[in-house]
Amino acid sequence: MTAPDMNRLLVVRCPDLLDEDEDGATLRSFVKVIDAVESYCPWVTTVRPGICSLPARGPARYFGGEGSLAQLVTDATSAITPVEVGVADGLFAAVLAAHDGLVVPAGGTPGFLARFPVGILGHPELAELLTRLGIRTLGDFAALPESHVLGRFGADGVICHMVAGGRSGELDELRQPVAGRRIDEQRSGARRNGAAGHGAAVGESGFWGGVSDTDARAARALAAVQDLIGPGSVVTARLQGGRGPAQRARFITWNARESHEDSTLGAPWPGQIPSPAPSIVHPTPLLAELADANGQPVSVSGRGLLTAVPTRLSVEKSPWSVVTAWAGPWPSDERWWSRSRRRSARMQAVTGTAAHLLLIERGRWWVEATYG
């Protein structure tokens, strides 16, 4: 199985802007970098502070190859801050390629990844186990049959195995969606202030392709909404790999010229919780309280079990609802290269007709999603 997120990606990595400082100067510099890149390619995605990506295929054709595109992006941004630019299949490999300043040819990603040590996956326990078994590189790991990996290393292991073999590019917390959204907001705020008729580009035949009649009508209607309440107000969804419901989709600002570029779309690979997926993923998780029959808070023990039978749920301080059914908890270690290592677990809870996906983190419950 190959995940649908293995597109040709160009990554721009700004080593000096990876950590946010308090006065926001690094963030502002990074916004300048994104703006500079976007003047060439209209669909730049913020991965996390200091790292952004764009699908390379269309722009590379236009600008005479991926190497030329990488050079162009470097030239456009290096006056702002030192940058590292690279191209590969999928986000994980593209970030590593950027670090090395490489354009990894199409199809060459598994070979490129093979030489890296297993520790680069950011899962120390997995790396330790693999090393004890004599498996030291991503290439060695990728060579293990998938059936062995699931039995021996669990669902996390399978995801890492796909990444190691260059069959997926998405790992938890490789993206920082919250930081990305904050940066996008800062950018759309800046654009609103200096609003220069963005609607002009909409009517013309698409830069990246032709526009049908239906598309043109829809584009005009959506541009009217953007004029009314701001360019960042209209978004479209793209699916990607990830374990939690919030990680499995990404919303990008709607752009008429981009509306044909739906190649990033595909069936997502499975998340941690089995299908069906929740139809509402709360942009800000809702505060929840879970209590047992005696009104005592229910938590998750160090061994990943509920401390008591949950009987009542309250969301955002609302009156208690009776919990009629529940499942889980399913522990999840979000242990990526974010510095804060967080232990968390998810469970499903039904109160009458309503069903929610709950998340516990540092002893506090949240409603992460609702099956609406």
Partner: protein, 249 residues
Amino acid sequence: MFVESTDRGDGAPLDRKRARESLALLAERTRPVSSSQTRLLPVLPPLISLFPDGSLRRGSTIVVSDQAVAGGSGGNSGGGISLALALLAAASGAGSWCALVGLPGLGAVAAHDIGVDLARLAVVPRPGAAWAEVAAALVEGVDLVVLCPPFPPRPAMARRLVARARERRSILVVVPGRSGWPEPADMHLTVSAMRWDGIGAGEGYLSRRHMTVTATGRRSAVRPRRHHLWMPSATGEVADAAGVIETRP
């Protein structure tokens, strides 16, 4: 600075005109497009029996009422969002543009699984106080508009919006939640008898949800039609649950 070994597929640099032409060719997808001339838009097969024409009629307004729980236990938990998304599925697949206004947290995976073509769905999560103007702008050029009004709609506002949708031959699907919709609609879809399968006291997981949908309407849709559905089914789709016996009134 760039090590570019065997640059497969890219070849020699292209001049801009040729590049533009080849991109235009690439973009010309042979996607079937619903013409604005057709009177009806398709619905998923399990939903056909709810509609007098077996399809959605352009220019009509559909109000979806669900089992939203009183007391604010995470609003929008009543099944109406799933039903509204299901109404978009077949039409978006046939090339119609769709929009969703006023739902700040669309579960995009659920929308995809239920059959919505996400490449044809524009989302305006937070229209704020301008929600009616936003919806009015959208019915100008988008075939199906799902509206979750963030504030209780005033009758005059609702009336203008319904009239605009009829005039522009767009379909307005309103999921009003507890605030209600003050205007008569061409069709009402009401969700009842919701029940989750697969989950117990600490066992299993949510696998599928049963719901009964009752359709009532004006004119040719005047006779109520009831249908039992799995929404979502275990694979996230909409499935017929005709054989299911209701356990609750």
